[in-house]
């Protein structure tokens, strides 16, 4: 052990209070990143305790250490590959038997371990009493009573950690049935021929030194895909794998079940042995609070309405509280843009800073209050335990389109803003489900698209049908999202869907500290993106609209409208006009759509500039006079009809998500491939749907 420096990992089931313990130990000294190549969060924290510098890795919460899920694989690789002094295994004291299954798998990795029986107060209140000393003796490692939320037992835990007396006790390893033990020894001999009597030198030992040989033998017998692949890629393992296959066949044919099941049963039998001795459970027949709450929240008739009401309240609160702050920030951004514009001499730098950077990045940053509040709401729903109930209620519908019940909440949040929605897909364990949810979430019409709809509807449709028109746009978005999810899950990323076998955890009052830390982490990731990718996009878009500043003769343009027409963006709009013509748009609409990549509400103000409107700011605020003149201008200058306006709404709904969303997709998938795909498929889909709507509308005689 290194003097005064310790590297430990926290492992445990989801809902075991592992994160609460991690927060209690490290406080704000945390660092969140990603494991290379996968989108599993890597959390580390530091702690100083009695002259010891302790680095703590918070492993993803898992039920096992198999190769079936990325979380479990990541946890396993950290345990094998990192130079760990200790593993602290957090278990839910009231649920010991099930939680200890992971413990058994950790134990097989032969790393010194301390067991933390967390939430012991809750367990005791529910009639579960643990003889800690006896349990420790039976399992072969220290067991400590902890109530992380109250800080009970944390000192004892840390004292045990720094004492450095925890050793791996192989005498207390899980023992399986005689047949399995013999099979394990046969495989181990292949892994390490020196075990054989009078066997050869160490050179014949296969290069798996970093794995305990008993663990690897068990993994091969369980037919663990990752272990199997690793061994297969190593030379001279033919005999070994053949032996493992022989064992698997033998057990299946002669002992009635396959080895994977038998080994699991062996672990549970060992756990049962230990818990029967060391844990006393007084059966209480009283109905727990969680059961009482679920009788209402998961009620056959009221469950769904209550769920929808909770979601509706989340949105109401978010926007009621968030919008005033957004407006306030918008004023600040506008003021600082003006201030910078006045402070600097007129010219390119001025325009770049004032319009490009402050306008662009600022325009995205102003949504931060709404995003923070949505993150806060998600964090509370997750911490309380309601999130898995939401998945339980919605799974039937989501499973029909090939997704998981948990996909519903991120998609719903997409109505508010795609950014927190895409970040909320982190609750999905299956990478394929998660990817598809991310890809279709932008089709849920977000808040920034609403100004576009309201303006176009006010300008082109009578009041009586305004509500229906708006509703139809939202509905089309939902239908498209579900259809695309089904298509993607069938053709793009086919594969087994995520099992729905999951825990409905006990309801808990969310801890303020944990909730705030989680909210801040997500917001921080978002802010960091704003400083990088969004900044770059803003500059590119600014340049497209700013250059060239003078015509071929070096003369300045007469007005902003003419300048925009001749800018690269304007030329781009004219270049794509032939593509847009079949769906009823001219080049000006094209330019507005190009600008909309920065943020959707800009579509309207750009059209305003192009149609030489005097005051585009008040247009965005929806002042009646301006709306009227907007409609008039558009009608006069573009020949827009209600049909064209509707098609433009459809196109705005579907085509490219804004640059901030693209940046977040890039961040969450760790590659440019999926954001590029999102842009490609949404533009194609937008065009196809618009074409069908426009041509169909013309045929029906709606284009008047």
């Amino acid at each position: 052990m290194k003097p005064n420096k310790l590297n430990i990992a926290l492992a445990g089931n989801p809902n075991s209070g592992k994160t609460t313990l991690f927060n209690a130990l490290t406080g704000a000294r945390q660092h969140v990143g990603n494991y290379p190549g996968v989108t599993v969060e890597k959390k580390e924290g530091r702690l100083r305790y009695k002259d010891f510098d302790i680095n703590i890795i918070d492993l993803p919460g898992t039920y096992g250490l198999t190769a079936y899920s990325p979380d479990e694989l990541v946890a396993r690789n950290v345990l094998i590959e990192e130079d760990l002094d200790l593993v602290v295994n957090v278990v839910d004291a009231s649920n010991l038997e099930r939680n200890l299954y992971l413990t058994m798998q950790l134990k097989e990795l032969e790393i010194p371990m301390i067991l933390v029986a967390n939430m012991a107060d809750y367990a005791e209140a529910n009639g579960v009493y643990i003889d800690y000393e006896l349990l420790a003796k039976l399992l072969g490692f220290p067991v400590i009573r902890v109530v992380a939320t109250k800080g009970e037992g944390i000192e004892e835990l840390l004292d045990t950690v720094i004492k450095g007396e925890v050793k791996v006790n192989l005498q207390k390893a899980v023992r399986y049935s005689m047949e399995i033990e013999e099979a394990i020894i046969r495989i181990e001999k292949h892994l390490n021929p020196s075990l054989e009597d009078g066997a050869a030198t160490d050179e014949r030992t296969l290069p798996f030194a970093q794995y305990p040989s008993r663990w690897l033998a068990i993994k091969l017998l369980e037919y663990d895909k990752e272990a199997w692949k690793k061994v297969e890629a190593t030379p001279y393992t033919y005999e070994l794998l053949k032996q493992a296959e022989t064992e698997q066949t033998y057990f299946k044919n002669n002992l009635g079940d396959d080895l994977e099941n038998l080994i699991a049963e062996g672990r549970y039998a060992y756990i049962r042995g230990a818990t029967q001795e060391a844990v006393k459970v007084t059966e209480t027949n009283k109905i727990s609070t969680t059961e009482k709450i679920d009788n209402i929240l998961l009620h056959r008739f009221f469950g769904l309405p209550i769920f929808l009401f909770i979601m509706w309240s989340l949105f109401q609160l978010t926007f009621a509280l968030g919008n005033p702050m957004v407006e306030w920030l918008e004023d600040i951004v506008a003021e600082s843009s003006v201030a910078v514009g006045n402070a600097l001499p007129p010219g390119l730098l001025n325009s770049l800073l004032a319009d490009g950077i402050i306008g662009g990045v600022g325009g995205v940053l102003v949504f931060l209050p709404v995003i923070l509040l949505l993150f806060l709401g998600i964090a509370i729903l997750e911490a309380s335990g309601y999130m898995s109930r939401a998945a339980f209620l919605m799974d039937k519908i989501m499973h029909k389109v090939g997704l998981h019940g948990k996909s519903f909440v991120p998609m719903l949040i997409g109505f508010g803003c795609s950014i927190p929605a895409i970040m909320a897909t982190r609750t999905l364990e299956n990478p394929k489900d998660r990817l598809v949810t991310m890809l279709v979430t932008p089709l849920m019409s977000c808040g920034a698209k609403l100004p576009v709809y309201t303006l176009l509807i006010a300008a082109f449709f009578p009041n009586e049908i305004a509500g229906n028109i708006l509703f139809s746009i939202y509905l089309i978005g939902i239908i498209l999202a579900l259809v695309m999810a089904k298509l993607f899950r069938t053709w793009l990323v086919p594969g087994e869907s995520e099992p729905f076998v999951m825990e409905l955890p006990v309801y808990r009052t969310p801890k303020v500290k944990s909730v705030l830390i989680q909210m801040w982490e997500r917001a921080f990731l978002y802010l960091r993106k704003a400083g990088t990718i969004i900044l770059a996009f803003s500059i590119v878009i600014w340049a497209l609209f700013t250059f060239p500043m003078v015509d071929v003769n070096g003369m300045e343009y007469a007005n902003p409208s003419e300048q925009m027409e001749n800018s690269y963006a304007g030329r781009l709009g004219k270049t794509i006009e032939p593509v847009l013509a079949p769906i009823g748009f001219d080049w000006k609409t094209g330019v507005a759509l190009v600008a909309g990549f920065a943020a959707k509400e800009i579509v309207v103000s750009t059209m305003g500039t192009l149609y030489s409107m005097s005051d585009t700011d008040s247009l965005l605020e929806g002042e009646e006079k301006q709306v009227k003149s907007f409609a008039q201008m558009t009608r006069e200058q573009s020949g827009f009809t209600p049909l064209t306006a509707y098609v433009l709404m459809l196109f705005t709904l579907i085509y490219v998500p804004c640059m901030a969303t693209i940046a977040v997709i890039k961040n969450e998938t760790n590659s440019w491939r999926w954001p590029a795909f999102t842009i490609g498929y949404t533009v194609t889909l937008a065009w196809i749907i618009s074409f069908v709507a426009y041509r169909g509308g013309l045929l029906l005689g709606l284009g008047i």
């Binding site: 079936y68 099941n261 998961l298 729905f500 076998v501």
Partner: protein, 84 residues
């Protein structure tokens, strides 16, 4: 009487006999404690009829009917009065 977990009636108790199926689903069930010998109770169906909720060792689990079809159980005792 042996039956599939998916056919177990509301409020009834059963002991798990065998977990069929394969791959990730079975693995997850094993990790969550759905193994032979464990006693479970059928708690409720979701409002849309699927998935189902079961109680196992004081802990509540949910699984889809198609997943519950892979679990063979033996019913024990009669119906227990589940408070509604």
């Amino acid at each position: 009487m042996q039956k599939l977990l998916s056919d177990l009636e509301l409020g009834h108790d059963a002991r798990i006999i065998k977990v069929n199926g394969s791959g990730a689903v079975r693995r997850r069930m094993i990790d969550m404690g759905i193994v032979p010998g464990m006693e479970i109770r059928m708690v409720r169906y979701a409002p849309l009829g699927d998935p189902i909720e079961i109680k196992l060792k004081g802990c509540h689990l949910s699984l889809r009917k198609e997943e519950a079809e892979t679990v063979l159980v033996e019913e024990i005792g009669g119906a227990v009065n589940e408070a509604k």
